[in-house]
C-alpha cells in the first residue's frame, strides 16, 4: 500500500475516533451557527437607510440634517450603482431617493425596499413625514412621498446568511492551525516522530501525508457546515451558481493549506508544547474578531482595515461569503486569492525553516 494512502486512512480514522477534535471542528461551529443564527443578533442593529440625493438644495439639506439627528437610525449616502449590492449585503435596509425638485412643500421622495424589509421602510416613511411636517410647523403638506417595493433577484439573507460563511471560514482556520499544532506537538513529545525517523521512509513523507489528510478532512467539514447552514438555517445559498461551487472548493482548499502551514510554523516556532497552545490562540483569537467573521469590517476606521483586510483569515471570510451568498465570479475574487497566496508562501517558509523533528 502507498505510504500516503495508509497515513490518510489512519489520520481520518483517528480524527473520527477523537471526540475532542470532532467537538471543536464540527459540533462547536454548528452550535455557534445555529445559536447565533436562530437568535439573529443581526436584528438588534439600528435600521439603515441609504440616501441618494439628486437635489442638493437648502431644503433637502435641512431635511437630511434633521434625519441625521435621529440616533436610532443609521444614514449612509450611496450612489445609484450601489443600491442592489448594499441591500443584498444588508448594509442598508431601504433606499431613499431625493429627487431633483425636492422641496418641503412638495417632498418628492421615493423609498424603495426589498420585500422582507417592508416594516422598516414604513418606519422610514413615517419618520420622513414627521420631520417634514415639523419643519413646516405642522402645516399640511402635499403627500408626495412614495413607498415602493422593489423585487431583487437575490434576497438579503439576514444576519444568519452573513454569519454562516464566516463560521465556515473560522472553522477552517481552527482545524487547520489547532489540528496540526496539537497532533504534531503530541507526536513530538510522545516520541512518535522519533520512531518514524527510525523507519526507512523519509519522515517528510509522513508530514506530507498528514497535511493531505487534514486537507481532506477540512474540505469535507466545510461542505458539511454549508449543508447544515442551508438545511437548518434555511439560507438560500447561491449554490445554484457554478461559481459558488468552484470558489468554495478553491478557497476552502487554499484556506486549509494556508492554515495548515501556519499550524506547521507555530509548532516549529514554539520551543515546547507549553508555548504551542498560547501561540496558536494568540494568532487565531484576534482574527476571530478582526477578520469579519461575526460583523462587517466596515465599522473599522480605515487605518485599521488596511491591517484587518490583509490578515490571513479575512480573504477567506470574504471569498466564502461572496461565493456562497452571491455566487460571485472567481475573477472578482482575485485580490483575495493573491493575499492568501502570499500568506501561504510566507507560512510555508517559516514552517519549513523552523520545524524540528525532536
Amino acid at each position: 500500500m502507498n505510504i500516503y494512502l495508509i497515513i490518510a486512512k489512519s489520520t481520518i480514522k483517528m480524527y473520527f475516533r477523537r471526540t475532542q477534535s470532532l467537538f471543536w471542528t464540527l459540533f462547536f461551529p454548528v452550535v455557534m451557527m445555529l445559536g447565533i443564527g436562530f437568535f439573529g443578533f443581526g436584528q438588534f442593529t439600528p435600521p439603515k437607510l441609504g440616501i441618494i440625493n439628486y437635489s442638493n438644495n437648502y431644503e433637502s439639506d435641512l431635511f437630511l440634517e434633521e434625519l441625521n439627528k435621529k440616533e436610532y437610525i443609521e444614514i449612509k449616502t450611496i450612489s445609484e450603482k450601489e443600491i442592489e449590492k448594499s441591500i443584498l449585503e444588508g448594509k442598508i435596509d431601504s433606499v431613499m431617493t431625493i429627487s431633483k425638485d425636492f422641496s418641503l412643500e412638495s417632498p418628492n421622495l421615493e423609498i424603495s425596499f426589498e420585500n422582507s424589509k417592508e416594516k422598516i421602510a414604513q418606519e422610514f416613511y413615517d419618520l420622513s413625514e414627521m420631520i417634514i411636517s415639523d419643519l413646516l410647523n405642522n402645516n399640511q403638506t402635499e403627500k408626495s412621498i412614495v413607498l415602493k417595493e422593489k423585487i431583487f433577484e437575490n434576497q438579503y439573507q439576514g444576519y444568519k446568511g452573513f454569519l454562516v460563511p464566516g463560521i465556515v471560514a473560522l472553522s477552517i482556520m481552527q482545524s487547520g492551525i489547532l489540528g496540526v499544532v496539537f497532533t504534531l506537538i503530541s507526536y513530538k513529545t510522545q516520541g512518535v516522530l522519533k520512531r518514524l525517523q527510525a523507519t526507512p521512509i523519509d519522515p517528510s513523507h509522513f508530514l506530507i501525508g498528514q497535511m493531505i489528510s487534514r486537507l481532506l478532512i477540512i474540505v469535507i467539514q466545510t461542505f458539511i457546515l454549508f449543508l447544515i447552514g442551508t438545511l437548518i438555517l434555511n439560507i438560500d445559498i447561491a449554490l445554484g451558481s457554478i461559481y459558488a461551487w468552484i470558489n468554495i472548493i478553491i478557497f476552502s482548499v487554499l484556506g486549509s493549506i494556508l492554515f495548515l502551514f501556519i499550524g506547521l510554523a507555530v509548532s516549529g516556532a514554539s520551543p515546547n508544547e507549553d508555548y504551542a497552545a498560547p501561540i496558536a490562540n494568540l494568532i487565531t483569537f484576534p482574527m476571530m474578531f478582526l477578520s469579519g467573521v461575526f460583523f462587517d469590517t466596515d465599522v473599522f476606521p480605515s487605518w485599521l482595515s488596511v491591517i484587518t483586510d490583509n490578515l490571513p483569515l479575512s480573504p477567506l471570510v470574504n471569498s466564502l461569503r461572496e461565493s456562497a451568498l452571491y455566487g460571485t465570479h472567481t475573477f472578482e475574487l482575485l485580490p483575495e486569492l493573491a493575499i492568501m497566496l502570499v500568506w501561504i508562501v510566507l507560512a510555508f517558509i517559516i514552517g519549513i525553516k523552523t520545524f524540528k523533528w525532536e
Binding site: 489512519s10 512518535v192 520512531r195 523507519t199
Partner: protein
C-alpha cells in the same frame, strides 16, 4: 572458539555535542545470534551509542557497520534490516494494535503476518484495542511487535523493562529469549543487572562515554571475585524478587 560471523562492528565511535562528549571512542563487535548488553549509569552514553547504530544520530567521528553496511553512508539500508524499540516512545493512541502494525509494515514496505506478530508478543486478543488502553508492559511488547514487522536481522531494545512490574519483566525476558532463538541478534540496554545477567551472552559496561569492560557476565563476576572482592553479607541463594514472584506468581496482571 568456533568461527562466528560478526554482524555489528563499532570502532572509535565518538559523539560530541557543543560542550559535552556523550560517546568518547567506543569499540565493540557483536556476533550473529548474540544478546549483547550495554550497561551503565544514566548519561553514560548507552542510548547515544544505540541511536547512532539505529541511524538516528550521526557520529562525530568513528565508524559503525551492521551486516557489512556502513551506517553513516547507507542509513536507509541499515534501517531496513534492523528493528528498533526506543526508550520513551509511544504510538498513535487512537489506532488499534493491528492498524499500527499495518501502518509500520507499509513504512518498511514489508508484508508480515500481522496476527502472527501479535501472537508472538502475546497481544493477539488485543488486536482491536486502541493503543492508549494498553498497560505499560503491553505497550513495551507492542513496541517490540512493531520492531519485528520487517523481520530484522538485528533488534535494538532500549531499556525494554524499565517501569514494569516483576511479572511483566519476566514475561519480557521470555519474549526476548524467544526472539533470539528465532535467530536474531539483540542489542539491549538496561539498568537492571539481574536482567543483564539472565539474558546477555556478553555485556559492555559503559561510563562517561567509554567502555570500561566487555565480557560474559560470568567472566566479569569471576574476575571481580578473583581480585579478592567479597560481598559484605553472606551470599543469599534467593533474592527478595524471588520471594515476590514465589508469592504472587508469574502470571501477567494486565489482562
Amino acid at each position: 572458539m568456533s568461527k562466528i560471523k560478526e554482524i555489528i562492528t563499532v570502532s572509535d565511535l565518538v559523539k560530541k555535542y557543543d560542550d559535552f562528549t556523550a560517546v568518547n571512542g567506543i569499540n565493540f563487535k557483536v556476533s550473529e545470534g548474540e544478546i549483547f548488553g550495554l550497561l551503565g549509569p544514566n548519561g553514560a552514553g548507552k542510548t547515544t551509542t544505540v541511536e547512532i547504530l539505529e541511524g538516528l544520530r550521526k557520529p562525530s567521528s568513528g565508524f559503525a557497520e551492521i551486516d557489512g553496511i556502513n551506517i553513516e553512508k547507507n542509513t536507509k539500508a541499515v534501517k531496513k534490516i534492523i528493528g528498533v524499540q526506543l526508550q520513551e516512545c509511544s504510538f498513535f493512541d487512537k489506532l488499534t494494535l493491528f492498524e499500527i502494525i499495518e501502518m509500520f509494515s507499509v513504512f518498511y514496505s514489508s508484508r508480515p503476518d500481522i496476527e502472527n506478530i501479535l501472537e508472538k508478543v502475546g497481544l493477539l486478543e488485543k488486536r482491536k484495542s486502541y493503543y492508549k488502553t494498553l498497560s505499560g508492559g503491553q505497550k513495551q511488547r507492542l513496541s517490540i511487535a512493531v520492531a519485528l514487522v520487517n523481520d530484522p536481522k538485528v533488534l535494538f531494545l532500549d531499556e525494554p523493562t524499565t517501569g514494569l512490574d516483576p511479572q511483566a519483566r519476566r514475561n519480557m525476558w521470555d519474549l526476548i529469549e524467544n526472539i533470539r532463538n528465532s535467530g536474531k541478534t539483540i542489542i539491549i540496554t538496561t539498568h537492571y543487572m539481574e536482567e543483564a545477567e539472565k539474558l546477555c551472552d556478553r555485556v559492555a559496561i559503559i561510563d562517561t562515554g567509554q567502555i570500561v569492560t566487555i565480557d560474559t557476565p560470568k567472566a566479569l563476576i569471576k574476575k571481580l571475585l578473583d581480585s579478592g572482592f567479597e560481598v559484605e553479607e553472606k551470599l543469599q541463594n534467593a533474592t527478595l524478587e524471588d520471594v515476590f514472584i514465589n508469592l504472587t506468581g508469574k502470571s501477567l496482571r494486565e489482562n
